[in-house]
């Protein structure tokens, strides 16, 4: 089930709101049980076969947390920690990487049967989330949660269960047992949810149609303009798609009194790749920073060691996104850019005009999305060749068609990557009149309701509605 679906909007959400808010606020435990049951049902809708996997992951993290908590002998705590790490990564490894590994061994001449495994929805997200809990408990950064239902609620909480953001236990630790739902929180959640829904239905899906249309063709047959149009469309699609999901997750969390951290901060206005990664998928990059990069030594070590640490992080980041060499190359691409900015051209980049810095970043990111979207390395190479004018090339007309057909979405999409919300708020704050106050108060409300209405129109009339980050 996805948030931008009628089953969610018309049945799941109303039923949950009704059941949840019928329970008095003082019965926090009952409300949590309602939320947990609905969350498990939400996951089950994607396939009942995978529910045991989620429950197993919850069990592993609960037991791991109990054992890893301070107060036990060190060996028990380590057993708890490494047991949870091995269990969580073992499940992830089997379901996500076993087929990839076997195919590569076969390619190397080692005949190994390739298991046919369907990737369970959201496994990368809930595995990382569960691990962060056990590691934080082991480190003493979080208290051990002795109530298994609350660990289950933390791991399985439906807004962030299948496509993030990766919520740290410390972020919601207090709120699981002591949170306050209110009209203010609920209404802010509604507004945020509607903005996310609109972003997904009106922009991401349209750009997805363009990207799918272009990337479904042989790379060698693409004209330069069409290849660029496809890359630009995918660049917008992946941002609006994923950030929309995060918006909806944050909004839904807010409706039930949870405060998830922001996952995106206008990444396409970054002036360097380093800055881009401070703004893109923040919950993942901080997860790797805190649980992989810093434990490996981070940057407080020799240059050689630092390069190795970064290499490990970016290889893992690439592989986290998918079991395919294109994702490995995607990770390596960012490794090269980030180490380059740190050790080679960072100083020169700082001195360049702002426009050039933005263009450099955008170009680097667009190339990365081509690697990300391509089904294999050969296609990626062919596509990049087409982008630099090396394709045999269908007539440019296809690119022109995509520009003309989706002109409103291109226009809105390009505008929407800029932080208009902040600019408008600053502009309104500088004005004292009644008009400014009205716009500040009512503007988001009407905009959100308008987006909800338009999204419903799109939901009912269109069938093109995939979520990219479900595959991770």
């Amino acid at each position: 089930m996805v948030f931008s679906s009628l089953t969610f909007l018309l049945f799941f959400l109303p039923a949950l709101l009704l059941c949840y808010f019928l329970v008095p606020a003082r019965c926090r435990g009952v409300r949590n049980c309602v939320l947990l049951l609905f969350s498990l049902f939400f996951y089950r809708c994607g396939g009942a076969d995978y529910l045991p996997l989620l429950l197993a992951s919850i069990g592993i993290n609960y037991l791991g947390g109990l054992l890893a908590a301070p107060g036990h002998p060190l060996w028990v705590r380590r057993l708890g920690l490494w047991g949870a790490v091995a269990g969580g990564l073992g499940l992830l490894g089997w379901f996500k990487y076993a087929g990839f590994l076997a195919s590569n061994l076969n390619a190397l001449g080692l005949p190994v049967p390739v298991p046919r495994i369907v990737l369970p929805i959201g496994i990368s997200f809930f595995t990382f989330q569960g691990l962060s809990y056990v590691i934080d408990v082991y480190r003493g950064d979080a208290d051990c949660q002795r109530n298994p239902l609350y660990v289950a609620l933390y791991v399985a909480l439906f807004p962030q269960l299948v496509a993030g953001p990766i919520v740290r236990y410390t972020t919601v630790e207090e709120e699981i047992s002591r949170r306050r739902e209110s009209l203010e929180e609920f209404s802010q959640g509604v507004v945020r949810f509607c903005f996310g829904l609109g972003k997904k239905m009106l922009l991401a899906n349209a750009m997805g149609e363009v990207a799918d249309g272009v990337f479904s063709q042989p790379a060698a047959s693409l004209a330069t303009l069409t290849a660029w149009v496809g890359a630009a469309a995918y660049t917008l699609q992946i941002y609006f798609d994923f950030s929309a999901y995060s918006d909806m997750a944050i909004g839904l969390g807010r409706m039930f009194g949870f405060h998830f951290l922001e996952n995106f901060d206008y990444p396409y206005i970054a002036a360097s790749v380093k800055e881009f990664w401070r703004r893109w998928h923040i919950s993942l990059s901080t997860w790797f920073r805190d649980y992989v990069y810093i434990p490996l030594g981070g940057s407080r070590c020799s240059r050689g060691r630092n390069l190795l640490n970064l290499l490990a992080v970016w290889l893992l980041t690439g592989l986290w996104h998918g079991a395919n060499w294109t994702f490995v190359l995607w990770g390596l691409w960012f490794y090269v850019l980030l180490t380059g900015e740190r050790y080679v051209w960072g100083g020169a980049l700082d001195k360049l005009p702002c426009v050039v810095k933005h263009l450099y970043t955008l170009l680097a990111v667009m190339v990365s999305w081509v690697l990300f979207r391509a089904p294999d390395l050969g296609y990626a190479a062919g596509y990049l060749k087409a982008m630099r004018g090396g394709g045999v090339g269908l007539p440019v007309r296809q690119g022109v068609y995509y520009l003309l057909e989706f002109w409103p979405e291109w226009l809105l999409g390009v505008l929407a990557v800029f932080p208009w919300k902040h600019w408008a708020a600053r502009w309104l704050d500088a004005r004292q009149g009644r008009g400014a106050a009205l716009v500040r108060s009512w503007g988001p409300v009407f905009l959100a309701l308008g987006l909800l209405a338009l999204s419903y129109v799109k939901l009912v009339s269109g069938s093109f509605n995939p979520f990219i980050y479900f595959q991770f």
């Binding site: 089930m1 679906s5 009628l6 089953t7 909007l9 018309l10 049945f11 959400l13 109303p14 709101l17 809708c45 994607g46 396939g47 009942a48 076969d49 369907v118 929805i121 009209l183 203010e184 609920f186 209404s187 802010q188 509604v190 507004v191 509607c194 249309g213 063709q217 042989p218 047959s221 269908l394 007309r397 296809q398 022109v400 068609y401 003309l404 057909e405 989706f406 002109w407 409103p408 108060s441 009512w442 988001p444 409300v445 959100a448 309701l449 909800l452 209405a453 419903y456 129109v457 799109k458 939901l459 009912v460 009339s461 269109g462 069938s463």
Partner: protein, 392 residues
């Protein structure tokens, strides 16, 4: 947000969810969408396997998308909005000043694959022709340009009109047919040679007009005369009357646009100056003696189903003129308009649509009825398609 704004957005959101839910639950169940020309998704059937792999709940999503509250109105609204925004393609229809045309996604033409397909098609046609000629009959495979092929110039320059694919398909089939001695008649050059080719096709539908069907009829009969000694009367323009039906023409493209955009076009019927009485049998059963399925009221829209009442598995028109030869016309829906003319020159006219007729293979049907003339009508889009009316 002020307190009032918080109240409003919360109330509006909850009201929206509640109303949409109630309206969806109370909505009258429909199984078919006329404007989309498709069956709506049914309620999913529960099975442990479907539940396990998630297809049960995705089935519910498909069902709800098709049965959501206000769907028809919202589809119209979206279509209106897209038209107002000036999108060149709306609901897969290319909207031009002159016509409403099909959107043809850009694909490189695989010439070798087309050539292979043309060879395979010609092989199959040679088999059918041999079966017909085996008892002394005459066979002709007729290619008719469909709307996009007739109106290649109407497409904006940045949209694919399949001109390359159409030309290559016809050329390769002509070559392969000639090599195998298959009697192939391409109506493309005949249409293009007319002084006003636009009137032969529709501005709003994939099919040709009755004028196009009549021209095809005459060309086929001229070829029969040129290649055989069969005595088949040809009705000239003075022998027929072509008159416009009063109902508004809802072409397949207009229909895809949910009747939100129209182009000037009409449907016509062709009647002989001297009536030819006949008995009609649909699937072996005597039925109403009419060729034109006009709506009950003049204010109702009429579709291409006017001709012969649409696609039927098997039809027989028996004029009881035993001195004339019999004919079998088979093919896709392009046969329908042609049949309204063709029967006038034959004793019996059998009509088959192998997409729907499953009783026996084509060759068995031909052997059973032994018509002196067998004609297959395919449009350019399905010219090389071996499925169903391609002979299977």
């Amino acid at each position: 947000m002020s307190r009032n704004a918080q109240r409003l957005v919360t109330a509006a959101f909850l009201l929206f969810l509640g109303l949409a839910l109630a309206a969806t639950l109370l909505r009258e169940e429909e199984t078919y969408s006329f404007f989309e020309n498709r069956t709506l998704a049914p309620k999913p059937v529960y099975s442990a396997q479907a539940d396990g792999d998630g297809s049960y709940f995705s089935g519910w999503e498909r069902y709800l998308s098709d049965h959501a509250a206000g769907r028809k109105t919202l589809l119209r609204l979206k279509t209106r909005l897209d038209l107002a925004l000036g999108r060149p393609v709306v609901n897969d229809v290319v909207v031009t000043e002159e016509a409403l045309l099909p959107y043809l996604p850009e694909r490189p033409v695989d010439r070798a694959a087309v050539s292979r397909q043309a060879g395979a098609m010609a092989d199959r046609l040679a088999e059918i022709q041999a079966a017909v000629e085996g008892y002394g009959g005459y066979y002709c495979y007729v290619g008719v340009p469909c709307q996009y092929a007739c109106r290649e110039e109407d497409y904006p320059w940045y949209l694919n009109n399949r001109a390359d694919l159409s030309a290559w398909s016809v050329q390769e089939l002509s070559r392969a047919a000639a090599e195998r001695g298959v009697n192939f008649l391409d109506m493309g050059p005949v249409f293009r040679a007319q002084p006003d080719p636009d009137r032969l096709t529709s501005a709003v539908d994939n099919h040709y007009s009755i004028q196009g069907a009549y021209l095809t009829y005459r060309t086929i009969l001229e070829r029969i005369h040129a290649q055989t000694e069969l005595e088949v009367p040809v009705l000239g323009e003075e022998d027929v009357t072509i008159s416009q039906v009063p109902n508004r023409y809802l072409g397949s493209r207009t229909r895809k646009l949910l009747a939100q955009e129209w182009r000037e076009d009409a449907l016509y019927r062709l009647d002989p100056a001297e009536a030819v009485p006949f008995t009609r049998y649909n699937y072996g059963k005597e039925t109403y003696s009419s060729l034109y399925a006009l709506p009950e009221h003049p204010w109702e829209d009429v579709t291409y189903n006017l001709y012969m009442g649409g696609d039927l598995a098997e039809t027989l028109i028996d004029t009881g003129r035993e001195e004339l030869p019999s004919v079998l016309v088979y093919g896709d829906s392009f046969t329908n308009a042609l049949e309204c003319v063709m029967y006038l020159s034959f004793d019996k006219m059998y009509s088959l649509d192998l997409r729907h007729y499953k009783d026996m293979p084509l060759e068995d049907y031909i052997a059973g009825t032994r018509p002196q003339v067998v004609v297959c009508i395919r449009d350019y889009e399905s010219l090389l398609d071996l499925e169903a009316n391609g002979g299977g």
